[in-house]
């Protein structure tokens, strides 16, 4: 079907342009004005030292971190929704963000440095997914419902531990700790680890799109149509956990991107994972990059946590799409 194929190409091309545009905007806009000529001078390898610092040291890495985080979350959300066969599943539904927050807070309370705190958050996120998986597996093997329920309960447990630690910690360390719960790119370190996870993950999931389409119709139907269901489910679980853990480690628990982006794309483009997965990465990355640009410029020099912006943008557009959908 040549028509459908050219339409798909057009959609992905449009999203790719949106992604490049969002990165360009993020680099061009900030609390300090940089004119287009100055911007081009810096990108050409020249320009004033100040503009060099602004664009290549501050804005560039932060924009890349935002894009990668958005892509990771949207892809993780899309995969998790298929795995749990629940269009409203969220990457954090299995307690990933809580696990990361608890481990990061513990490291902070022990006086660890940035690298150790990040590593600890990553380990905590993965530990939480293993815990949920083990508990949900139990004696009888897991089902989406059991997984979901276990995840929700474990997340509540993490929440209690976070509250406990916040109640016990010195007041002035609170803001630094809350970022793990809220999501804030001001604290993002190097963007490259996130990209190193995102790109291979996308390349790995792209050829799985067809199988995921079948899996979305239930494990029995998928098995009947030649999908190795259990291995695929484990892969999905591991991959979604890894992606979310990486996203949380980069920017804390940024809400809404993982839930809203894949869902919106499904409402707009239909539910073919071969299209939804790459589209999610591009749209999620663009959304978070633009949201972070707004977060750091809207009230500059006051800086907002990006989670506030994603929620403010995500909630109304999501509700509108849902209202209009069939």
């Amino acid at each position: 079907m040549a028509d459908a194929e050219s339409k798909r190409r057009l959609i992905l091309l449009a999203l790719l342009l949106l992604a490049l545009l969002s990165l360009a905007v993020a680099v061009a806009v900030g609390s300090v004005a940089v004119s287009p000529t100055q911007l081009l001078a810096v990108l050409g390898g020249g320009g004033e030292p100040l503009h060099h610092d602004l664009i290549l040291t501050l804005r560039g890495p932060r924009a890349m971190a935002a894009f990668a985080t958005g892509g990771l979350l949207a892809l993780a959300g899309a995969l998790m929704q298929i795995l749990l066969r629940n269009p409203l599943a969220d990457p954090y539904v299995l307690g990933v963000s809580g696990g990361a927050a608890v481990a990061a807070l513990l490291a902070l309370l022990c006086g660890a440095g940035i690298t150790l705190v990040s590593g600890s958050a990553f380990a905590g996120a993965l530990l939480s997914t293993l815990l949920v998986f083990g508990l949900a597996h139990g004696v009888g093997g897991w089902t989406p419902t059991r997984l979901l329920l276990t995840g929700v309960v474990v997340a509540a447990g993490w929440g209690a531990m976070v509250t406990f630690m916040l109640a016990l910690s010195p007041a002035r360390q609170l803001p630094g700790m809350l970022y793990w719960l809220m999501g804030d790119l001001s604290y993002a370190g190097s963007p490259w680890p996130a990209w190193l996870v995102l790109v291979p993950a996308l390349l790995l999931t792209l050829p799985l799109g067809g199988s995921l389409n079948v899996l979305a119709r239930g494990p029995l139907q998928a098995a009947a149509l030649g999908v190795a269901v259990r291995p695929l489910q484990w892969l999905l679980y591991g991959l979604a956990s890894l992606l979310t853990a990486m996203a949380v480690t980069t920017a804390g628990s940024v809400g809404f991107v993982g839930l809203v982006v894949p869902h919106m794309l499904r409402l707009l483009l239909g539910n073919d994972q071969r299209l939804i997965l790459p589209a999610s990465v591009l749209a999620g990355g663009s959304l978070l990059t633009l949201a972070d640009t707004v977060a750091r410029t809207a009230l500059a020099p006051e800086q907002l946590p990006v989670g506030v912006i994603t929620a403010l943008l995500g909630v109304p557009s999501f509700l509108y799409l849902l209202y209009r959908s069939r």
Partner: protein
């Protein structure tokens, strides 16, 4: 062409003793009906024959090769399963659902091509679904969804059909149409196995029957040999009256327990 063989097969029904091992061969062109009361394990047997469920003992072979030894994709190109229950968590149209049947034929990077669409459209046409092709499956009636599931299996182009209650939710007209479609598949050389709860459909459309008792006992053979009122009364625990319409036996439940239980 596909021949399905069960060797010393004991299906795994939790909490039930082993029962008698099954040695059975289903040849191309045969139409098998699995009969039995609720809870006898008809669906479990069907899933075991399909390779979706591991047996407790014995094995199932397709053209002489054990099912676990076959690749998932290769198996899926030969046998289709139509389930009694379906889950649609995500919205999908009738056409998209029928196209899913082409999955075993597509490489990981491939999208459905012209030929795949042609097959799906033909399947929709065969089941009278063409006017509904762009409707969301979630908006259809139970009978329409049943036909969509059959269309998906038809798109899959299998040489072995395993169908759980093909006439579920269908009105009389569509019951006949679906059974005729399955019979046509058998005439073209496919083997068809279906679980049925309607004795008269089995009597009318199947050439072989397998009677499955709640305790794991079973017996099977050509339909003519199996349609013995006393055996069927024992199977269902129900007294039956027998008549004849168009040369096929018709069973009607009557009052009272079967003779051998009185």
């Amino acid at each position: 062409m596909a021949t399905l063989t069960a060797q010393q097969l004991v299906m795994d029904v939790p909490g039930r003793p082993a029962g008698r091992p099954l040695d059975l061969t289903i040849e191309p062109g045969q139409r098998w009906g699995i009969l039995g009361p609720n809870g006898a394990g008809k669906t479990t047997l069907l899933h075991t024959l399909a390779g979706l469920r591991s047996p407790r003992a014995g094995q199932v072979l397709l053209d002489g090769r054990a099912l676990p030894a076959l690749s998932h994709r290769r198996l899926a190109r030969q046998r289709a399963v139509v389930f009694q229950e379906r889950q649609d968590s995500f919205p999908a149209t009738v056409m998209e659902t029928a196209l899913i049947g082409r999955h075993p034929y597509l490489s990981p990077w491939q999208w459905e091509g012209r030929e795949d669409h042609r097959r799906a459209l033909a399947a929709l046409e065969a089941l009278g679904l063409t006017p509904l092709r762009d409707r969301l499956v979630s908006t259809l009636s139970g009978g329409e969804r049943q036909r969509v599931a059959l269309a998906t299996a038809l798109t899959q182009a299998p040489s072995l059909w395993l169908v759980d209650e093909p006439t579920n939710h269908l009105d009389l007209h569509h019951q006949v149409a679906v059974m005729a479609l399955l019979a046509e598949q058998a005439d073209r050389g496919a083997a068809v196995v279906m679980c049925l709860h309607d004795l008269n459909l089995a009597a009318r459309w199947c050439d072989h029957l397998l009677l499955l008792y709640p305790d794991g006992e079973l017996c099977f053979g050509p339909a003519a040999d199996m349609l013995v009122p006393s055996a069927l009364e024992a199977l269902y625990g129900q007294r039956l009256a027998v008549g004849q319409v168009d040369g096929a036996p018709v069973f009607v439940p009557t009052g009272g327990l079967p003779a051998n239980k009185e």
